[in-house]
Symmetry: C2
Subunit: 128 residues, 2 copies
């Protein structure tokens, strides 16, 4: 069986959810989406390729920043609408804000705390 | 500011993605969805309440199996379309198949390997 046949792209308009988890630390780095082509490209190249919903195109993670995600392990959930990738995060930062993880806002009751680890200055990396 | 205002429910038809991660081990247990009411109920009760897309109703995780998820920490990602919950998984199993995690199918090239840890027999728990 072809692994892509395990995925159910119909539930969310042609996309599955994709999670990148740091293979070493277990930290959840980011969540985005994949269409079939993004999934296949990721499997072929060994680096994570998402589908950008906002830009409506394939998004080779790190193409601008250099912070690519090297795939170490791939898992599919029980109902086939999520791919979970254990990755080596090059540059140690997954978030476009320069933080290691996109999940840097921690709720504490009604308070929101920034617990992010800043790794790079996005102005320097993206020039904007 | 109200924490729910950090969430962008518009991007996915009124829902955000919700990830449950084992607070102790870092294992990703499952991924589902929340509408605003599910998020608020989760925050109020301290146990995870999802929105079931298939059943089209609030889904207090563990309502049938007893395997509720007690919320330890809550994080929101940079663009506000994902909630990540670090939880204590009561019963040590999140998946309806009886496995600890829903991510029990590991891809190895063209091969799919079941690496799940079976915790309960779904026939006994759900009676079906």
């Amino acid at each position: 069986m072809d692994p892509i046949d395990l995925l159910d792209f119909d539930k969310s308009g042609g996309l599955v959810t994709a999670i990148a988890q740091d293979a070493k630390t277990g930290e959840i780095l980011m969540v985005a989406n994949m269409n079939p082509e993004a999934f296949l490209r990721s499997m072929e190249t060994g680096e994570v390729v998402y589908w950008s919903r906002s830009r409506k195109k394939l998004w080779h993670k790190g193409e601008e920043s250099g912070n690519v995600q090297r795939i170490k392990e791939v898992f599919i959930d029980c109902d086939g609408d999520v791919v979970m990738l254990k990755v080596e995060q090059v540059g140690d930062a997954a978030c476009h804000t320069g933080r290691r993880s996109c999940f840097y806002r921690r709720l504490d009751g009604a308070e929101v705390e920034d617990v992010g680890v800043m790794v790079f200055d996005p102005k320097e990396v993206y020039g904007k």
